[in-house]
Symmetry: C2
Subunit: 475 residues, 2 copies
């Protein structure tokens, strides 16, 4: 895909924050004065991110992914071709960022009933992402796949992720029993040199492996081989994805928030959070963008949900992401958004040109409630409902803004992801926290180890036993 500057501009995503402003929202909106007052902090956040971009030691290596992967992309494309030729099914074994990114790209850019299509109509093998250890789900996945005809992409930086490694033990055992050389049916995405998957690869005589770089955390890994390999297997244009990310990176060069979309989003959310909006709804008007909300929910929650500033001062920061879907959730959540507490910001994802229009035929001419729909398209209907909901929320004094995609394709998806990643990095800098760590999940991990009898966790075990449910409080 050769992209002229003109084509890029035509594919430019925009942020429309009209409905965040006092001018349109009245006293529930953000005044120009309040916004201007953040300009310095926004600029400082921009400087922090610009200065530290690419630094692996700060886990900011992800900023360079649009630029430094020419070789690995070529390798991935070759591997993807091999997989499409030789396997019926491709299964990602991963959790967190290792699963949310691949799921998002799959849902955004493939047919919405991809696995239901006959083989001839699919660009790649059937596709599953296994991101849980539910015993029923694992068993039922095995009901519908033939492991000998399946390529498993095991994604774990450390190779110590209990969930993913439990899955690996199960599938490697099945492959062995089926007489398959494990090496032929697995691909690892993991650390360059350390970690358990590196060891396992050696023992198996060298498993095809991709590197998840040191400076790329799970939730910032979609544009690394974590996301690129599954996407390429599905026939997604991964070069366009990276180009879209690079284009957004360019759009976010200005240090002035009024000219930098990611910086403006971060600033708006920062102001909202400072005034008690502890809920951030992401509401795409598109089934294809549905899982962008899941991916974003990790990015935003895990990055900003922190109890300590960089200098050690305690805090309890974070905004809870809520996944909604337009128009579906108009019939579920919008009642609350319109009349409930003023505690949230709603971000719409809107599409200007859907890849299908889907005409609504005339009919029921004697029933006015139905007849008026005939002659329109479903595209018009969903866009009208999107606009109408933004309008209704604004009338009710509710903060909302819109991220608008000219259309949905690999390039614009790349833009969108990078917009959110930069927004998150800027917001973290504004809050003066470590955006890229996740210490809060350690306690649960350790408790799991203790419960399963992993050596070294005996003390914790006895504490856990004391925390057993109190019969007094069970009904």
């Amino acid at each position: 895909m050769k992209l002229t500057e003109e084509l890029r501009k035509a594919m430019r995503i925009t942020v429309d924050y009209t409905n965040m402003t006092e001018k349109y929202l009245g006293d529930k909106g953000i005044s120009q004065k309040t916004l201007d007052a953040q300009r310095r902090l926004a600029k400082a956040a921009h400087t922090y991110v610009s200065r530290n971009r690419g630094k692996d030691e700060l886990f900011m290596g992800w900023t360079e992914l649009p630029y430094n992967q020419a070789e690995v992309v070529a390798d991935i494309l070759t591997t993807a071709k091999h997989i499409r030729r030789n396997f019926d099914t491709f299964v990602v074994l991963g959790i967190g960022g290792s699963a949310l990114g691949p799921t998002m790209a799959f849902n955004a850019l493939c047919h919405l009933h991809y696995n239901d299509l006959p083989k001839s109509k699919r660009k790649g093998p059937k596709f599953y992402v296994e991101d849980n250890v539910d015993p029923v789900r694992m068993k039922e996945l095995l009901d519908v796949i033939d492991v000998t005809r399946t390529c498993f992409n095991v994604i774990s930086k450390s190779g110590a992720t209990s969930e993913t490694m439990a899955q690996y033990l199960i599938i490697s055992d099945l492959l062995k029993k089926a007489g398959v050389n494990i090496r032929d049916n697995v691909i690892f995405t993991t650390d360059a040199s350390r970690g358990n998957l590196v060891k396992i690869s050696k023992e198996l005589g060298g498993v095809k492996s991709y590197v998840l770089g040191d400076g790329v955390g799970g939730r910032f890994s979609e544009l690394s081989p974590v996301g690129l390999l599954p996407a390429a297997v599905l026939g997604i244009d991964i070069k366009a994805l990276l180009k879209g990310a690079a284009y957004m990176d360019k759009l976010c060069k200005p240090s002035d928030m009024y000219r930098n979309p990611a910086l403006m989003c971060a600033t708006l959310q920062y102001i909202a959070m400072q005034s008690g909006k502890n809920i951030g709804v992401l509401m795409p008007y598109s089934d294809n963008l549905r899982y962008v909300s899941d991916w974003y929910a990790q990015l935003w929650a895990e990055s900003l949900g922190k109890n300590v500033h960089l200098d050690g001062r305690p805090c309890n920061i974070g905004q809870t992401p809520v996944k909604a879907l337009g128009v579906t959730d108009q019939h579920s959540q919008v009642q609350l958004y319109t009349e409930g507490p003023y505690d949230k910001v709603v971000t719409f994802l809107s599409i200007e040109n859907y890849k299908e229009k889907t005409p609504i035929p005339h009919g029921c001419e004697n029933i006015p409630d139905v007849a008026f729909l005939g002659g329109h398209t479903m595209e018009e209907l969903i866009q009208a409902e999107n606009k109408a909901t933004a309008y209704a929320l604004t009338k009710a004094g509710r903060l909302n803004y819109t991220i608008r995609l000219p259309e949905l394709n690999a390039f614009t998806l790349g833009e969108l992801l990078f917009l959110f990643e930069l927004q998150t990095a800027y917001a973290g800098a504004m809050f003066d926290i470590d955006t890229f760590n996740q210490p809060g999940v350690e306690a649960g991990k350790k408790a799991t180890f203790a419960l399963l009898g992993k050596p070294g966790y005996e003390l914790q075990r006895s504490d856990l036993d004391n925390a057993a449910p109190d019969e007094k409080y069970i009904i």
Copy 2:
């Protein structure tokens, strides 16, 4: 299914609120004194619900659904058998409660890869729920189904739901063009005598129709034909579902909250909301229960999200439901839940006996991080992680409680749904609001009508045009 009292007891769902109490949570917990102080209000809420149950004029007809449907259940079972014999695919056209209930039951009680199974291994036809007007989704559904071999269940009380009726126009046109008598391939679930679907049925010479009773709102309709027909088509034991609901109803007879699980849940949430916990996370540790969260999100949000008390005093009440999934979201949301603001209550749904255990074989014996998993089952792993997460949240002073299912089946699902429905009714009574209306969605509906040129909405149209995006606020 004959259920002895002993069997019922063995299938009893319990609520464990140990981790909500000051005794276990310290000063972040609810003290016995605070709890006791709510006893009177809880009793009053119980009285309100008991006194008004079954009253259609208050939209409380849903309370009697477990008892008054013997005839319709028999009819549904006959129809379901006919559908299973004569169709390859069953598609629900509905939105809101008409979609969330059927999706939940399907996902909870059918194979997790149901549509991927060969026909011989499925109890019913392929199954889709279409709850959006995304033009891509509608087109892509039509790519994978043969409309002439598909039974469409059109669910709309009024027959005026734009989304559902747009879908109806599309599929009825396709059926007509394919030479199929529309009547043969559609079933309506709608009002008894009024509404557009009644008219359409007459014009088509009588379409098989089920009644959605006057006193049953969309979000309380899963135990009506709205949910029962799709469930029966899928081979779900709908009698057991209703019996489970009746059993929970019985368990919630006591007016003392300490002996009534739904009343206790409502009270705990009420107390939490009064102290600023404006977020309610529902986190099932089960892929099968994943869509219970979506169903509950509508129930809770649309019922409690209100801006006026029953006597007209203004307010802005409501708790925002958040859908999480264990263990998956431990790697996405738990960092925020552990370290972020103290603004939420986490409700776990736990299962004591999963229908599969899924053993984890031994392997990687020289890698301690992996080897310790061998010999356990995935059931043990997911349960350990559930317990560990509750423990870690409690250690971090975060309110959480657990609803425990002995196992997941139609009976326990019926219990769970009725528990949530009663809890919602009790909570609405405590807040002194109209739990059963949804006036807040009207503004958006009207704006949509205006944008699509429905006669009578011309004035609104000009207001909408004035609300067009302001270029000044677009980046």
